[in-house]
C-alpha cells in the first residue's frame, strides 16, 4: 500500500501541474492525504488567482462545496430551463448570480447586458426593469437590453459585449436548440469570458442538454415559494421570496446534487431552503389540535427510496462509491 500511496501523490502532483498549464480545473482534485477536496486550488492561465476573483459567489455553502468552490467566474455557464414557461425561474437564478456579483463589485457604472432573440422575448417576456430593481436590486440604469432576430446575431453581440470593460456580466438567452449554438460557438463565448474575466451566462429555455464548451450547466425548475412570515406566524396562501430547484446538470469538477435555493429579498443573497421553513405539504389544521405525529410509520418501500430530495445527507458524507455494500 505504501508504494501506491506514493504513486497517488505523484499522480496528484502531476494533475495539479497539468491543470495549471491548461488553465482549467481539469477535474475535481482530491488530495490523497486526507481524501478531502483541495481547498483554494485555483488555476488560471496567467498564474494563480484569488478565490474572490475566480468564483462567482452563489452564497450557498453546500452548492459551492459541491461545485468545488463555486461557479467559475471567468467562464461560460449554462443555465437550462426545461420549458419556456419556466423562463421566470431560469432568469431568476441568473439574476440572483448577477446581483451577487454586482454587489461585490464596487463600481457603480457596471452594466448588465441581457441579449436574446426576438422569439425568446416574445415568448417569455422582456426583462422588466422595475421587477429587477424590486427583487434583485439591479437598478434600471445598469440594465442594457439587446435583441436580434437570429441566434447567430445574438451570439455575435454576446461575443462583442464580453470584452467591454463596463459590462460586468452578459446574459445570453436562447430558446430551443438552434444548430448554430454548437461546441465552436460556445467555445468562442467561453474563451471571451476567460480572457475578460467576466462571466457569460447562457440561458437556454426549453432546450435539450447538448455538448457545449461551458464547464458548468445548471438545470433550473421552479419551486414553490415559502409563506410570508408575520408576527403571528406564516401567512396562509401568501407567496414570499422566489425559490428555484437547481440541479447540477454537468460539471467536470462537481459532484451531482440538487438543491432548493431561495432568494433572500432583504439580504439579496441565495440560500438553501432550510428544513424549518419548508412548506407543509398538507396545510395544518386550524382550530383543532394537531393530529398526533405518527412515529415509525409503516411504509412499503425500502429505506433508501423513502428519502426525499431535501432529506438527503450531504453527499460527501456518504459518497456512493464508498458506501458500505449492503450484504444481506
Amino acid at each position: 500500500m505504501a508504494t501506491s500511496a506514493v504513486a497517488r501523490d505523484v499522480v496528484f502532483a502531476l494533475r495539479q501541474k497539468i491543470a495549471k498549464i491548461e488553465g482549467t480545473l481539469a477535474e475535481r482534485l482530491v488530495s490523497p492525504a486526507d481524501g478531502q477536496p483541495v481547498a483554494g486550488l485555483l488555476v488560471r492561465r496567467n498564474g494563480q488567482a484569488s478565490a474572490r476573483d475566480f468564483f462567482l459567489p452563489t452564497g450557498v455553502e453546500r452548492l459551492d462545496e459541491v461545485l468545488g468552490g463555486g461557479l467559475p467566474k471567468a467562464a461560460l455557464t449554462e443555465i437550462h430551463g426545461s420549458e419556456t414557461r419556466n423562463a421566470g425561474a431560469a432568469a431568476g437564478l441568473a439574476l440572483s448570480l448577477v446581483s451577487g456579483m454586482l454587489k461585490q463589485r464596487s463600481r457603480s457604472s457596471d452594466l448588465v447586458l441581457w441579449v436574446g432573440t426576438t422569439e425568446m422575448f416574445r415568448e417569455a417576456g422582456l426583462p422588466y426593469a422595475p421587477g429587477l430593481a424590486s427583487f434583485f436590486g439591479i437598478p434600471a440604469e445598469s440594465l442594457l437590453l439587446a435583441e436580434a432576430p437570429k441566434a447567430a446575431d445574438v451570439l455575435w453581440i454576446a461575443e462583442e459585449a464580453a470584452r467591454i470593460e463596463e459590462i460586468a456580466a452578459v446574459v445570453v438567452e436562447l430558446r430551443g436548440n438552434p444548430r448554430i449554438v454548437d461546441l465552436t460557438a460556445t467555445r468562442r463565448l467561453h474563451r471571451r469570458a476567460q480572457d475578460s474575466g467576466r462571466p457569460v451566462l447562457l440561458l437556454r429555455q426549453s432546450a435539450e442538454p447538448e455538448p457545449t464548451a461551458a464547464p458548468v450547466r445548471l438545470v433550473v425548475s421552479p419551486a414553490p415559494a415559502t409563506l410570508r412570515q408575520t408576527l403571528l406566524g406564516p401567512l396562509a396562501g401568501s407567496i414570499a421570496a422566489p425559490a428555484f430547484a437547481v440541479e447540477i446538470g454537468k460539471s467536470r469538477t462537481a459532484l451531482p446534487g440538487s438543491f432548493i435555493l431561495e432568494w433572500n429579498l432583504d439580504a439579496r443573497t441565495l440560500a438553501e431552503r432550510s428544513p424549518e421553513n419548508r412548506i407543509a405539504v398538507v396545510s395544518p389544521s386550524r382550530g383543532r389540535t394537531h393530529p398526533p405525529a405518527q412515529a415509525g410509520a409503516v411504509l412499503a418501500f425500502k429505506p433508501a427510496a423513502v428519502e426525499a430530495a431535501g432529506d438527503q445527507p450531504p453527499r460527501e458524507q456518504h459518497p456512493a462509491h464508498r458506501r458500505p455494500r449492503r450484504t444481506g
Binding site: 440604469e141 442594457l144 453581440i157 462583442e160 467591454i164 407567496i239
Partner: protein, 490 residues
C-alpha cells in the same frame, strides 16, 4: 405607347417617335388608335413607377449638387449655384449631364438659366442652351404661353383674347391682367424674369459636411469601398476638427455607373471623427447589407457626408501620447456597431418613467450617450432615486410580456377573487396560491375616464411557477371581464 384611364376610356398618355410618325396624338382613345393601326403596342401607365424612377434620377443628380427638387411629374430642378466650377464650368456640366443621361438611355431636355422659371422654359423650348443672365426677357418674349408654367385654363382664356406669346403679356398693363386672370400669371412671369425670388425646395436636407471622390475606374469590391471610406473619413476629420465637432450620423452615397444610387446611413451614440471608427461602423453596416448592395458595373462616385454633427470635446493626451479614456467610449462604439448592423433598436436601455401603469413604467429607448450624463446635472435626481430605492418597492414581475396575453379563466371562487385555474397557451394551470388584488387604475389624464381598471394578482401554480395576472374591469350585469397574463415572476 402608354395608355391611361380617364373618364372610363383608355386614352393615349404618351407615345414614342415612331407612334408619333403614325399621326397618333396624346389624348386620343386607344380604341380609335387601334382601329387606325392594329399592331401598336399599348402599355398601361404606372404613375408610381414613374415617380420612383424620377426619384432615382433625382438621387443620381445629387452628384452635381445637393439641392435637387422634383418638379411635377417629369421634371427636376437642380440648383447648381457654386457647383459649376467643380465640373469645369456651366457648359461642361450641362454637357456632362446630358451625355450621362443619354448613355443611361434617357432622352432628356435640359436648360440652364439664372431663374428657375427661365430654366424651365429653356429646357422645354431650347434644350441644351445656357441662358446668360439678363437675357431672360428677350428669350421669353418669343415663346408661347406654355413656357410660363401656368395652368391650361388660364392659358386657354389668354389665347381666346389673342394673347398668344409671353411677349404679348410682358408688355401689357399688369393690373387688368391680374384682375382678369389671377395673380398667378404675373407671379410666374416675375419669377421667370427674376423680379421675384423663387426658391426650389430640395428633396433632402443638405448635409453640413460632405466629402466625395470621383473615380476614373469604378469600384465594385466591398473591401475597396471600405478602404475608400477610411480615406474620405480622414478628409472629413479635418473639416470636423476645424468646426470642433464630431459626427452623430453619417451617410455614404454610392453612385453606380448606370445611375443607381445607394444610400447607407449609420448613427453614432456619441460624436465621432476618427476615420478608424467611421470605417468600422460602415464595415458592420455593409456586412449586414451584404448581398443587397448590387455593385453592378461598379461605383464611380463615392460620397461621405456628416448628416448631423455635435460638439466634440477633445481630450488631452498624456506624455506617452495615449489619450486618457473617460470610460464609456468602448461601450459607445460597441453599441454603435451593433445598431449599425442590426438596426437602431438593437441595443436598448431601460428608462424608468413616472407612471403606475406597468407597461409604461419602464420604457426602452435606443442606447445613446448624452452629454448630460457626464456632468453632474443628473446627480440630484439619482440621489433621489437612491432614497426611494431604500423603500420597499412593489412586487413587480421580472419579465413582462409586450402585450398582455389573454387567458381563459373558467371560474373564480368569489366574483372579485383570483381564479381557481386558468388556461394559458392551451395549457391548464391550477392555482395553488394567490396574492392580491392590487388595483391599478388607468391614467385618467391620458386615457378615457371610463377605461376599465385592472386587478392584479400574484399567482403561484401547482408546479411553483409564479405569474402576474389581471382582470380587466369588474364583474357586472352587462359583461364578464376578461383576464390577462401580464408577466412572470422569478
Amino acid at each position: 405607347m402608354i395608355s391611361h384611364r380617364e373618364n372610363n376610356t383608355q386614352r393615349i398618355a404618351g407615345l414614342d417617335a415612331r407612334a408619333e410618325a403614325l399621326r397618333l396624338k396624346p389624348g386620343m382613345g386607344i380604341a380609335e388608335a387601334r382601329a387606325m393601326h392594329p399592331d401598336i403596342d399599348v402599355v398601361e401607365a404606372d404613375p408610381e413607377a414613374d415617380r420612383r424612377l424620377l426619384e432615382g434620377l433625382a438621387d443620381w443628380c445629387d452628384r452635381y449638387t445637393p439641392l435637387v427638387a422634383i418638379d411635377g411629374e417629369n421634371g427636376l430642378f437642380l440648383d447648381i449655384s457654386g457647383c459649376a466650377h467643380l465640373f469645369g464650368g456651366e457648359k461642361a456640366l450641362l454637357a456632362d449631364l446630358m451625355a450621362r443621361f443619354f448613355h443611361q438611355g434617357f432622352d432628356v431636355r435640359a436648360g440652364l438659366a439664372s431663374t428657375p422659371g427661365a430654366a424651365w422654359a429653356t429646357a422645354r423650348f431650347a434644350t441644351g442652351q445656357i441662358l446668360a443672365p439678363g437675357n431672360e426677357r428677350k428669350f421669353l418674349a418669343r415663346l408661347p404661353l406654355s413656357a410660363l408654367r401656368i395652368d391650361a385654363r388660364t392659358k386657354a382664356s389668354l389665347e381666346s383674347v389673342g394673347l398668344r406669346s409671353v411677349g404679348a403679356i410682358m408688355d401689357g398693363p399688369r393690373a387688368p391682367l391680374v384682375r382678369r386672370f389671377g395673380a398667378e400669371l404675373i407671379e410666374r412671369l416675375d419669377q421667370a424674369l427674376g423680379r421675384l425670388e423663387e426658391a426650389i425646395s430640395p428633396r433632402l436636407p443638405v448635409a453640413p459636411l460632405s466629402v466625395e471622390r470621383h473615380l476614373a475606374d469604378p469600384l465594385s469590391l466591398i473591401d475597396d469601398i471600405e478602404r475608400l471610406i477610411g480615406l474620405l473619413a480622414a478628409t472629413l476629420k479635418v473639416d470636423l476638427e476645424r468646426r470642433e465637432e464630431g459626427a452623430r450620423a453619417l451617410e455614404l452615397l454610392l453612385f453606380r455607373v448606370d445611375g443607381m444610387v445607394s444610400r447607407i446611413t449609420v448613427g453614432a451614440s456619441r460624436p465621432i471623427r476618427e476615420p478608424v471608427l467611421v470605417r468600422r461602423l460602415f464595415h458592420e453596416r455593409l456586412a449586414a447589407l451584404g448581398e443587397t448592395i448590387d455593385a453592378g458595373y461598379g461605383f464611380d462616385l463615392v460620397r461621405l457626408s456628416a448628416l448631423s454633427t455635435a460638439r466634440f470635446d477633445a481630450r488631452q493626451a498624456d506624455l506617452a501620447g495615449e489619450v486618457v479614456e473617460d470610460g464609456g467610449e468602448e461601450l459607445a462604439i460597441f453599441a454603435d456597431r451593433i445598431s449599425a448592423r442590426l438596426g437602431e433598436a438593437a441595443v436598448l436601455e431601460a428608462i424608468p418613467v413616472e407612471s403606475h401603469l406597468p407597461e409604461r413604467a419602464a420604457s426602452a429607448r435606443p442606447y445613446a450617450q448624452e452629454e448630460a450624463r457626464k456632468d453632474g446635472a443628473e446627480r440630484p435626481a439619482r440621489a433621489a432615486q437612491q432614497a426611494t430605492r431604500r423603500l420597499r418597492l412593489p412586487d413587480r414581475p421580472i419579465r413582462l410580456f409586450r402585450q398582455p396575453e389573454p387567458i381563459d379563466v373558467p371560474a373564480t371562487e368569489i366574483p372579485d377573487g383570483p381564479p381557481l385555474n386558468f388556461r394559458w397557451r392551451r395549457a391548464l394551470h391550477r392555482v395553488a396560491r394567490a396574492e392580491g388584488p392590487e388595483r391599478i387604475a388607468p391614467e385618467w389624464w391620458r386615457q378615457a375616464a371610463d377605461a376599465p381598471t385592472r386587478d392584479y394578482y400574484r399567482i403561484e401554480d401547482a408546479e411553483g411557477r409564479r405569474y402576474w395576472l389581471y382582470r380587466q374591469g369588474l364583474y357586472n350585469a352587462q359583461a364578464v371581464p376578461r383576464w390577462f397574463l401580464h408577466g412572470v415572476f422569478a
